[in-house]
């Protein structure tokens, strides 16, 4: 149950990526600060560039213990960009089904 919970709800845990040391529960949203946002590069392009409502999720697609970026979109297409050893990302490629064709969800 515990293993499934970890896989199913926050896959990065199972990927062995170091996760947050618990912060104070009392910490409120006003005290949470982020650096100015930066676009993520994937190969020669910016991840999700040109996609229609790109929706990323971090998940180890290729089993190398590094969280890759999986990107869905409004049109139902799914791509992923492998994370390299140095932390950069390779170019996006389609996530494929068992028959080798790109995975695509019906969106309308």
């Amino acid at each position: 149950m515990r293993a499934r919970w970890l896989w199913g709800t926050f896959t990065v845990v199972a990927l062995g990526v170091a996760l947050s040391a618990p912060r104070s529960v009392a910490e409120d949203a006003e005290s949470i600060r982020f650096a100015p946002p930066q676009r993520i590069q994937a190969g020669s392009f910016i991840a999700g560039a040109g996609r229609n409502f790109p929706s990323p999720v971090m998940h180890d697609v290729d089993g190398d213990k590094r969280a890759d970026i999986v990107i869905g979109d409004l049109d139902g297409r799914v791509t992923y960009a492998r994370r390299n050893k140095d932390g950069s990302f390779a170019a996006e490629q389609p996530l494929r089904k068992r028959d080798g064709k790109p995975l695509k969800f019906h969106n309308w």
Binding site: S24, A35, P37, V70, N107
Partner: protein, 335 residues
């Protein structure tokens, strides 16, 4: 479409769960050989799981059905996100369903097992504090993560905001779980990323349609945000020399050619679909299959033209003030 990798059917392989603008959750089941064709999730009665509004693939029209709502009455709320979560800690996955309109969140309980799910078909509103969970700017998708490190799962969600005009864009929100195992209690929404005010001359942030995930991206021990969205900006105007004016004119001509070509392709596709379905009843499977086949082929054919159009618009924007909207994935590194 938000996405979740989860072993929904407890076969030891991760499945791909999502919901789309069709108004229902879909799953592509994983196996040792890979992912299957996506299928729609159904409830214990065999009905498609919905919030209320959904696309009827047989009739090729939207319809509004109230069967899953608490009062049984239809309302303008479309399910566009789904998340599997063992709400009552009984060992199987229940479903969270998010609506586009008003960003409401519902749960639908599983009275079966993961291998033989029996979703009740009844949506129960999820509360945030003492009010129904709501993101009036429209919710993209919720994600459940242990944001505050207290051992339970909190809700992270992004909003759409105005993704065409200059009204405020989307943000990212957090609802902390202060409940116990099997009895989650989500708190009032807190803002993690303010809605975009827009007005920039460069893509400086995700502006509209923010889909969020949380991960320790840089390995420093805290959760960062990875956000996919449209950036919306207007490029700067500048003085052009003669050569640049010539180039601009050429780019605009090319832009018109590609736009005309796309319109021509749309007309041709409509004509082809009409011809392919001639004499067939509009509510027949044959009609739908043929219509969908023609449009699926069209979708693939137009991709390179849309890319070309984007590239031309991008280039034109380097010469004259041009409103731009483009999807990207961003990192918000937590400090």
């Amino acid at each position: 479409m938000g996405s979740q990798f989860v072993d929904l059917n407890a076969d030891g392989h991760l499945d791909y769960l999502t919901a789309t603008f069709a108004g229902s959750p879909y799953v592509s089941y994983g196996s040792a050989e890979g992912f299957s064709d996506p299928v729609r999730l159904v409830d214990a009665q065999g009905r498609r799981i919905i919030i209320s509004t959904c696309w009827n693939e047989e009739k090729l029209t939207d319809e509004n059905l109230g069967y899953a709502m608490p009062d049984g009455k239809p309302r303008a709320e479309r399910c566009i996100s789904a998340w599997a979560f063992d709400w009552d800690a009984d060992g199987d996955y229940d479903l969270l369903l998010g609506s586009y309109e008003n960003g409401h969140l519902y749960r639908q309980m599983n009275e079966g097992t993961d291998r033989e799910p029996k979703f009740t078909g009844r949506n129960i509103p999820v509360l945030a504090g003492d009010k129904p969970f709501a993101l009036p700017a429209g919710m993209t998708a919720p994600r459940l993560v242990d944001w505050d490190g207290d051992g339970d799962l909190d809700i992270l969600a992004g909003t759409f905001g105005d993704y065409y005009g200059q009204k405020p864009g989307g943000g990212v929100y957090l609802s902390r779980n202060a409940g116990s195992k099997g009895k989650p209690q989500f708190g009032a929404l807190e803002t993690l990323v303010q809605p975009s005010a827009k007005g920039a001359n460069d893509p400086t942030r995700p502006d509209a349609g923010l889909y969020v995930d949380a991960v320790d991206y840089d390995g420093d021990g805290d959760l960062d945000l990875v956000v996919g969205a449209f950036s919306m900006w207007t490029t700067r105007a500048r003085e052009l020399n003669e050569d640049e004016n010539v180039t601009l004119e050429r780019l605009r001509k090319q832009q018109k050619q590609v736009t005309d070509r796309l319109q021509q392709m749309s007309r041709a596709t409509h004509a082809a679909a009409t011809k392919a379905t001639e004499g067939l009843a509009q509510d027949s499977k044959k009609y739908r299959d043929r219509w969908m086949k023609v449009y699926a082929e069209h979708e693939e054919k137009v991709i390179p033209f849309h890319r070309q159009l984007q590239e031309l618009t991008r280039n034109i924007g380097t010469y004259v003030a041009t409103p731009r909207r483009e999807g990207f994935v961003w990192l918000y590194e937590r400090l």
